[in-house]
């Protein structure tokens, strides 16, 4: 059964590891590709997804049932759209507990919606343990480790076993230091026209960076598609 939608959750139990940056990139990637997309922001405070991409983002909260319904009923809606969730570290445990309790993965697969977790890896024991916990709890989800190259080489990658469609690690390329002040001032869209105040050299650097990041996403999409095709042509034993 071919997927005709996906729900990608960008997650880490740690703050300030690049979840929102990754979500912004992924959202703008789909915008640029012309895919219908809805992004959901489960963060509080400054520098949130909703501040960077107000047009695509729905601010969400799962502290009460109404908020849970507003988020999950929309995520599971069979509307063919790509859904992206920027999961703040404060909501990590409650989000996945609820996801498990209400049977989200089974329902998503039943509706041909691919469930994906992009997990930003860090070397600390909490993050490693939480990753393996997700693997145990959600064996049918494409749980994919993401290495944010801003943190240097991923010497801790062996602590993470790769799973599902993410048999290889997805990389978030390191951003040139001079670009940071431009792209971290909201609102900012990577899919929009280049900012007039961006020096040519930095504009070129941004384009190179985006090409690398978007290539990672394209390859990842292909892997999900490939996994989907493999499962759809599997003959009954």
């Amino acid at each position: 059964m071919p997927f005709h939608g996906s729900v990608t959750v960008i997650a880490s139990p740690r703050p300030r590891v690049g979840k929102t940056l990754l979500t912004r990139l992924l959202t703008d990637f789909h915008v640029q590709e012309g895919h219908p997309i809805a992004a959901f922001d489960l963060n509080v405070g400054n520098g949130t997804l909703a501040q960077f991409l107000p047009e695509q983002t729905i601010v969400s909260a799962i502290g009460d049932v109404r908020g849970q319904m507003a988020l999950f009923d929309r995520l599971i809606a069979d509307d063919g759209a790509v859904k992206v969730v920027d999961l703040g570290h404060e909501s990590f445990d409650s989000f996945f507990a609820l996801t498990q309790q209400i049977g989200f993965t089974d329902e998503a697969l039943k509706r041909a919606i691919a469930p994906v977790i992009l997990y930003i890896i860090t070397p600390d024991a909490t993050a490693v343990e939480a990753y393996h916990g997700l693997r145990r709890r959600f064996p049918r989800v494409a749980l994919t480790p993401v290495h944010n190259e801003i943190f240097g080489s991923a010497q801790h990658r062996n602590k993470y076993r790769f799973a599902g469609s993410g048999e290889v690690m997805l990389r978030l390329p390191a951003l040139a230091p001079g670009l940071r002040k431009f792209i971290e001032t909201p609102p900012f869209s990577f899919a929009g026209p280049a900012r007039a105040d961006l020096p040519t050299e930095l504009a070129n650097e941004l384009q190179r960076w985006l090409r690398r990041a978007f290539r990672e996403f394209r390859e990842f999409d292909l892997r999900v598609l490939l996994a989907d095709l493999q499962s759809s042509i599997r003959l009954p034993s």
């Binding site: 049932v65 109404r66 849970q68 319904m69 999950f72 009923d73 599971i76 209400i102 049977g103 329902e107």
Partner: protein, 263 residues
Amino acid sequence: MPAVPVNKSNIMAKPTVILVGADKGGVGKTTVARTLLDYFGAHQTPTRAFDTESPRGTLKRFHPDATEVVDMTEVADQMKIFDTLGSAAASVTVIDVRAGLLSPTLQALNDIGFIESANKDQINFAVFHILGPSIASLNEIAETARSLGNATYFVVKNRINDTTFFEWDPATYNFYFKQIRDAFEISIPKLNEMACEQVEVASTPFVSFIANKTSRDEKANYSFVLRGYVRHWLSNVWSEFDRVKLIDLVSPKEEVGPRQATG
């Protein structure tokens, strides 16, 4: 906690009567009766129900096809239930006893010789006694147990509406509970209030709500989140029924495996 004993002489199909009652109102008798009807339905066990909230029954609202409203104080209605046990297509009869009528009903069953038939192993008889939050409910246990004969007795702590429902002194509770030979304790977990409310509004069996179906078996548009809450809760309730091997009581031959409330 021991499992419900299965008497090998009972292996022949034998009618089963399950009384669901309490001497207090508002403790969730009908909710438990609904979970039982869904449970037996999931086990393909033909079941009928009688709702004693005459003239308008709550159970009938949720399970209209399986339920008949009766007045347990009327001899004609008692005949309707008990004289048809051997001839009805359904092997299980669930009776949702109106608030305050549990003790009188058990007395009436004694008077008509039903308890004696159960004692002679001609009928499987079980009582689901739904406890209320007060200490007075504990007195009911001893009082009810005296009228039971060989019935299988389930003491049900229904937490569906309130997590702080049971705060009895454990010693006091055990004192009453242990007076009853072969009593089984069942705990009904809490269900999210909004999910509970939406099933009420939908007026469907829990399994239909989970499957996103209306009472007329048409596709509905219930919240996926609320359906998820109900699915999770009903699975936990059925796990309790599995734990006490309830299905062995009504159909001893059946192998019971883990089963989920799927939607």
